[in-house]
Amino acid sequence: MGDVFVLGVGMTRFGKHPDRDATDLGVEAARAAIRDAGIDPRRIQGAYCGHVFQGMTTGQRVLAQIGLAGIPLANVENACSSGATAIREGYLSIRAKEHDVVLALGTEHLTTRFRGALTPDEDDVEAGVGLTMPGIYAMRARRYLEEYGVTREQLALIPVKNKRNAAQNPVAHFDEPVTLEQVLGSRPIADPLNLLDCSPVSDGAAAAILVSASVARSLGDGRAIRLAASALRTGTVESEPSSMTFEPLTRATALDAYERSGVGPEDVRFAEVHDCFSIAEALRVEGLGLFGQGEYLKAVEQGEADISGRLPVNPSGGLLGKGHPLGATGVAQVVEIVRQLRGEAGDRQIPDAKIGLAHCRGGKAAGVEGAACTVQMLVR
């Protein structure tokens, strides 16, 4: 057995929170998740806190505010997959029967740490010649558009869709939809990507209470959602140049999750994927095997990835619309999926949602195909 369930979820609104910090945001999310789980906080036996730039003891500062100081906690840094990795650490500790109840948290006050384009670590060779994260995805976008004969306008439909979804999500950074013309007319960042092709610099936190099957049975009253797989991989070192329009790392991580969960790509009803840039959403869903290689933009054009479509992608608004406070992002994806699977997603509700997939991928180092990738499978 050793099944793991998500019993409660909570998050802050994502956006710019100039009067708050990562601790304060983390506290709000953790307390919301504990309340949502309906569990006595004294039953929480361990905690994992994902963040990227918040400095040492970020998680401990949160625990100290909520009466939980003393339990084991590990802070987790894994680039944009930090929060998702915190979830996975909690999942593993329950599967190992070390804990029955775990708090997995992600928090980031990014606006005080970064302005403008994120870059790889300063020591990296590619950072030394000027690479930025938008730059990487812009180069992948240029290649993708050329190889698959799709247009810049089709690419811009991704931010239009995700910001439309975000406008229906009360915790999203952006609350207004944007038009195709606005995306195409926004400030150039890294050609062909413009400002509205890029996820924003956001602050925020998200939390989940993970429990063992026995705790879920005793407390769950049917609201517990099974975390059927939580896969993690690192990008491999390239020993020859490979396509930048396909993601072997995403594919390998997804195959791990499909195998562990017994759920295949054809069973997935909807997905929250790491759309840090417009092009990234296409690369992710094709790497996951949810859409055919080079076919995603056409599918978006035909509405297949809309909330009402065949396979909704980023109903929360994704990173483009909901925002991207790095360490919180992977946990917030799980928050959205749990709410969808419980039927609590309000205007964004996907009918008949039983299986949702979350994908994160982050980091860049020279000669490596991406740093950290996670795929989580959630089943009602």
Partner: protein, 138 residues
């Protein structure tokens, strides 16, 4: 690399240039795989006795972008591109000596070792840029 305190120049990142100022990577003597940046163990066959080799100085542009926003110290806009070298290495560098609209996927570019600036001890920081075939370094 970078061990000689009297040298008048330093590489922009440790290990990317040899003492003669050539861009270097690793070659696996067992399976012939090449790597950039240099690795200690071959990720294809796990051989440990990798050799330092100077990389080819001409390659093919795989993809590129024009950056309009960059880290402090980089003057925008500039062109950044991945170039595939014949030994099977893809290397990222700025593409200089071409107007952005003249850059094309698939074009041949030369790898030039060039100054990037000066460090705090007034030594020249050396790096590399790509330029159109036959162009002279700037």
């Amino acid at each position: 690399m970078g061990g000689d305190p009297d040298r008048a120049w330093v590489p922009f990142r440790p290990g990317v240039l040899d003492e003669e100022g050539r861009v270097v990577g690793s070659r696996c003597p067992s399976c012939e795989a090449h790597f950039f940046p240099a690795r200690q163990v071959c990720s294809r066959c796990l051989a440990e006795d990798l050799e330092q080799v100077a990389l080819s100085t001409r390659g093919t542009l795989y993809t590129y972008t024009v950056l309009h926003q960059a880290a402090p110290g980089f003057e925008v806009p500039f062109v950044l591109g991945y170039v595939d070298l014949p030994e099977g290495v893809r290397i990222l560098g700025q593409v200089a000596g071409l107007e952005p609209h003249a850059v094309r996927i698939g074009m041949e570019l030369d790898l030039h070792v060039e100054p990037f600036g000066e460090d705090e001890e007034r030594r020249t920081i050396m790096g590399y840029r790509f330029r159109p075939e036959g162009a002279r370094g700037g």
